[in-house]
């Protein structure tokens, strides 16, 4: 409030001068007689008192100005005149503004309005903004701005909703190929500003940090778009799309369920009830407690794959793990395991191959093109079943059809029995009988056509490098074999002519597989 202080100083000076004048009057009468002096003083005081009363009672209309400290605002208070005195007019305001040096941003409409109200309503109009300075507009160089929604780190939560599924929340910003990541903003010229006193305020050059499009980002006219599906990431220098989602922590409430279009690299555990879905491959640096893992490509687990209740691992490519335990696993391609497969249901559209010390103990293995292991079953261990030579996915469909066919067949028999005993409902029962028969026939036709898709591999072979124990069940192209005695270094294959499975000692060539 520098300017306001100046006014106070002026008032102070004016008032001080008045006092000094009064004092000087006393000094001039110092040499007169006391009575004369008293009279002079008394008279002076009386005159001033009367003058002040007259002054306070009868004044012209006037206004007071306040200039803000930064000289960007002028506020005025308008006061009406005493009765019979001159009201404030525009000329007077103009003159006052000129005398104070106010030349910029004067709001004449506001002034006219205030004068009119003051003189018409005969009431003071205070604190009217009558002039404003202009702030400068900074010069901005051409730059990229990241889309606002991508700068969020987590999906918005609807707090009004009754339930929030935190498993569905994700701290990762996922983008689709072609999605706009950033916009280009053209260079903006700077504009000078001005104070109400006409003082020029220069503009500045605004420094916007330059941010460059990085990996998997492409220019498309004035935008930068994602070059692939993936995770959007940025720092203060660049932004990019990462095809690999790297998770250093566990998969839990902090990460939510993972559903990522590219590869997923997991350093922690998958907590119970959380799922991982990947449009690429999944890499796990430790043991994977698999609740639900779905990968369109491969799954590579540095340590073991351990199943949970109702958990399932389904992979569009191959699986590589140190061990698999109590797990339901499906892979369209091969499954390679270092140490062992224990009590698991393992399905492969190609081969299941165990490395040098690899054991298969308990559970079922379904491998279309064969199995290679060092040991199958144990002396007293759980039942181990190996199925080879057919496509597991088609077998599963046929199994589903079998279950439905059995249900239909049971119902059909019940209806037929009822038809014999309840002639009153004959028409209804006959209708339902026909429907059941048609449904059963449809399923049987489906079975027949699926049979051609079993994609038999009659050359599928089960190779045991060391020992296979009694009780292990082996099936190749639907032909069964139960191991009756312990055998070593043996392979099992289908003798098509004999229609049975035969064993052969491993040749030196196959022993090294």
């Amino acid at each position: 409030m520098k300017r306001s202080k100046d006014f106070a100083t002026e008032d102070l000076i004016q008032f001080s001068e008045q006092i000094l004048e009064d004092v000087s009057a006393i000094e001039t009468i110092a040499d007169t007689s006391p009575d004369q002096a008293e009279e002079t003083i008394s008279s002076a005081i009386r005159e001033r008192f009367i003058a002040s009363i007259e002054e306070s009672v009868e004044t012209d209309g006037y206004l007071e100005l306040t200039i803000s400290e930064d000289e960007m605002r002028v506020e005025a208070s308008f006061y009406p005149p005493s009765e019979g005195r001159k009201p404030i007019d525009l000329y007077e305001v103009e003159h006052l503004l000129q005398s104070k040096g106010i030349v910029y941003g004067i709001d004449w409409d506001a002034i006219k309005q205030a004068i009119h109200s003051c003189n018409t309503d005969w009431a003071p109009i205070t604190d009217v903004l009558i002039a404003s300075g202009a702030t400068p507009v900074n010069e901005v160089s051409e730059h990229l701005e990241i889309e606002e929604k991508l700068l969020q780190t987590a999906k918005n939560i609807d707090l009004d909703s009754i339930r929030v599924d935190f498993k569905q929340r994700s701290p990762f910003v996922l983008v689709k190929k072609g999605e706009v990541l950033a916009h280009r903003f053209q260079r903006r010229e700077g504009i000078q500003g001005s104070t109400v006193l006409g003082k020029v305020i220069p503009y500045n050059e605004e420094k916007i940090p330059t941010i460059e499009p990085g990996k998997h980002s492409e220019w498309e006219e004035d935008c930068v778009v994602a070059g692939c599906d993936g995770r959007f990431e940025y720092n203060n220098r660049s932004f990019w799309v990462n095809e690999v989602l790297q998770i250093e922590s566990d998969i839990d409430y902090r990460t939510g369920n993972i559903d990522f279009p590219g590869d997923v690299l997991i350093s922690g555990q998958i907590k119970d009830g959380f799922s991982v879905k990947s449009g690429g491959s999944v890499f796990c640096n430790t043991t994977m407690d698999a609740s639900e893992v779905i990968s369109e490509k491969n799954l590579i687990v540095r340590l073991g794959l351990i199943g949970r209740k109702k958990g399932a691992v389904k992979v569009g490519g191959s699986i590589r793990a140190k061990f698999i335990e109590n797990c339901y696993v499906e892979a369209k391609d091969s499954i390679t395991v270092d140490v062992g497969i224990l009590n698991s249901a393992v399905h492969s559209g190609n081969k299941v191959e165990l490395k040098e010390k690899g054991l298969i103990i308990g559970g079922t293995i379904h491998a279309q093109n064969g199995v290679v292991a060092t040991q199958l079953g144990t002396e007293m261990g759980p039942k181990t079943e190996i199925y080879c030579g057919t496509n597991f996915s088609v077998e599963q469909k046929l199994q589903w059809i079998r279950d439905k066919s059995m249900q239909l067949a049971f119902k059909l028999k019940q209806v037929e029995r009822k038809l014999q005993n309840d002639p009153l409902e004959k028409k209804k029962l006959a209708d339902i009988q026909q429907k059941l028969k048609r449904a059963l026939h449809t399923l049987n036709e489906a079975s027949t056509s699926l049979l051609f898709k079993l994609d038999r591999n009659e050359k599928a072979e089960i190779v045991v490098r060391d020992r296979v124990f009694p009780g292990v069940y082996i099936e190749i192209c639907h032909v069964s074999y139960i191991v009756s005695h312990s055998m070593r270094n043996v392979s099992f294959h289908l003798d098509k002519k004999m229609g049975k499975i035969v064993t052969e000692p491993l040749s030196l060539r196959t022993r090294g597989v």
Partner: protein, 116 residues
């Protein structure tokens, strides 16, 4: 004339259901809930495929299989069992049964042996 299938199982419900399904596929199905009667029928007449339940009272599936194959060594027999590693299932396989069918039965294997 469709191929002929003989089914021997002491559980009448299962027997009925299998009969209904296989008949609908266009095969002739004969069923026996008494294993001994079924065994006699298999020896007396020719069937393209014989399904035998492994666990039946009086005479188990392994014994029936052994008896049939003794008289008709070329018969194609599939064993119905809930547990593929059951000792009787093993005995039936050792006797010459071609495959085990997980109960109630497996469409793919039945069709495979009938069409193959």
């Amino acid at each position: 004339m469709g191929k002929a299938v003989l089914v021997i199982d002491d559980e009448q419900m299962i027997l009925d259901a299998i009969e209904t399904i296989i008949e609908d596929m266009g095969y002739q199905v004969t069923t026996f809930s008494n294993p001994l009667d079924g065994e006699k029928e298999a020896i007396k007449n020719s069937y393209d495929l014989i399904l035998i339940d492994v666990r039946m009272p009086d005479r188990n599936g392994a014994q029936v299989t052994e008896a049939i194959l003794k008289n008709k060594p070329d018969a194609t027999i599939l064993i119905l069992t809930a547990h593929p590693t059951h000792p009787l299932a093993k005995r039936a396989l050792d006797a010459g049964a071609k495959a085990l069918l997980k109960k109630p039965f497996e469409i793919s294997k039945v069709l495979d042996f009938l069409q193959g």
